[in-house]
Symmetry: C2
DNA sequence: TCAATAGTGTCTGTCAGACACTATCGA
DNA sequence: TCGATAGTGTCTGACAGACACTATTGA
């Protein structure tokens, strides 16, 4: 900034200081990225008339090494000193899905002690949304044994208790991950407790049960779903899960799967009207009235 | 999980593996926390009738060491291997404000290369909200030379451009930090660019100018304000900035300072009606009609 | 014909923006 | 009295929930 070299209390210039700086004065934690890669798939439907049901899928990797050997974990890996966290996330994402250009968003950084039995690990979680028609890699093709798991998210219990200086509310959330082909079902229960003590509001997450899911990854899944549900309500994030063209019913079903509740068609169409543009195309051979195909209206920004 | 010891491809049990695990196989980045500590203060008012204006204040620390010697930075420090990130944040917070029990929230983790000239540093930013009446430490009392700076946030320019496969929108945001006593004014301009390319939406932040503010801390400030503005609209987060009792006009002014726009009193009162409870107290000697004091209604939860 | 989905019209209640209005204090 | 803030009443328009209704297809 200044032309005069500024010196510190030891009389060192910035240049001298940086040269003498020793990054290994004390032990550093390891930093990893963990990817929550979501997609939406169709479920097979017996009745020729009925539309296929949608399901939310999460990509998991079977661990071939200790710890949690044989369990399923989120794809991820260590962040090296010469790449940004986001680069590390993109690298992980690409190595799992072969897609380079994709929606990705940082979620939360998990830094409790004892998260990883190997050593002190801080994990930065990212969420990515993939349209299944863009997916080149199918489940199981990867050397690591990667697979898509259908995700079910359910609130088991809600609780509220009045306290002296406020109150405490808690929720039990069940996460079930299922892969039909491999006949694997993983599950976990996360408890979220929110305490209000006078002015101070605190939120804690705790794993009550985790079966088949490595590390504290259930918590990350729960957090991601919460974020996804929120964002879906006030952004166009959902289009990252849709193919190039889609019907409004399809889009509505994706909303419903994510939000975990049914929507009314009339209100839904009104709401998303100016986020999409109609095309001249229609669905065919559906066993019922054909439906117009829409395209995402790209000329929108959220900022 | 199982009673049989599971062995990996090298025939090692988990116990053996963990014993042999070397955390120093490669170089790790350093991890720090950076605290964005906000409070709201009254500005002196000449006219005896007029209410004091509110201002949003941010706590900064004058750097006594290289790099950025003499500039102002967010309070923060390295996360040690035997404390959680949140503990490190609380430790930092306590050492700056002397308050242990306070609202705190993780914001974002900044991990680009070259953020810190010393070495590779990953910084996890936290936001804390303090009610000024709870503050025991006044500006400048701290050995580090800490001071509150009045924050002004302004959108300088908004831009939208149509592109082949989508569009690009950008915003220039000016951050001004001012401390009257020290007669210091720091400033910075952050550019936020959002590109929509087909399905893919990307957001980048870039520092166009930064004067007197160390590292990439302007970006963190901009991000925090954005988050604060959002959260204020859909949570009760704002009460963390309020004293035990307050008038609705005061509360409204705090909302206005954060949102950067005026609100209509009637609509405002309707909106926050069930977040507060009235007391029997009134303001006195105000030069105008006394106003009822309210208290935050603690028996509410957001989850 | 009928089961299923596609798509529209409209009533209703809620709520925010707007603004006029009344109330109360102290110099 | 008047300048300032405190606080209320009510009109209006936007919009979401609810639901009835019409349209279209293929076996």
């Amino acid at each position: 900034m200044s032309n005069q070299p500024i010196t510190d209390r030891n009389g060192m210039t910035e240049e001298q200081f940086l040269e003498a700086y020793d990054t290994n004065m004390y032990e550093h934690p390891s930093v990893t990225v963990d990817m929550l890669i979501f997609t939406v798939m169709d479920r097979e439907q017996g009745n020729y008339r009925k539309l296929p049901e949608k399901s939310l899928q999460l990509l998991l990797i079977k661990r071939g090494e200790h710890p949690y050997l044989g369990q399923w974990a989120l794809p991820g890996g260590f962040v090296s000193v010469d790449e940004s966290i986001e680069d590390a996330a993109r690298r992980e994402l690409f190595s799992e899905t072969n897609i380079a250009n994709i929606y990705m968003e940082q979620l939360y950084t998990w830094g409790d002690l004892g998260r990883d039995p190997r050593t002190r690990v801080i994990s930065c979680s990212y969420m990515a949304l993939v349209d299944r028609t863009h997916l080149h890699v199918q489940a199981g093709e990867d050397a690591d044994d990667a697979a898509w798991f259908e995700l079910t998210y359910e609130v088991l219990e809600e609780n509220r208790e009045e306290r002296a200086q406020g109150c405490e509310a808690s929720r039990l959330i069940s996460i079930i991950l299922h892969n039909e082909i491999k006949n694997e079902t993983l599950s976990g229960i996360v408890r979220i407790v929110e305490t209000v003590q006078g002015h101070v509001r605190k939120l804690t997450r705790e794993i009550l049960q985790s079966s088949g899911i490595a590390f504290d990854h259930v918590t990350m899944v729960q957090y991601a779903i919460e974020r996804l549900r929120n964002k879906v309500e006030y952004t166009d994030i959902i289009i990252n899960l849709m193919p190039e063209t889609f019907t409004l019913s399809e889009l509505q079903r994706v909303y419903e799967i994510i939000l975990g509740k049914d929507l009314l068609a009339a209100a839904f169409r009104r709401k998303i009207a100016d986020a999409v543009t109609e095309t001249d195309e229609y669905t065919k051979d559906a066993g019922h009235r054909p439906s117009k195909l829409y395209r995402y209206n790209m000329n929108r920004n959220s900022i």
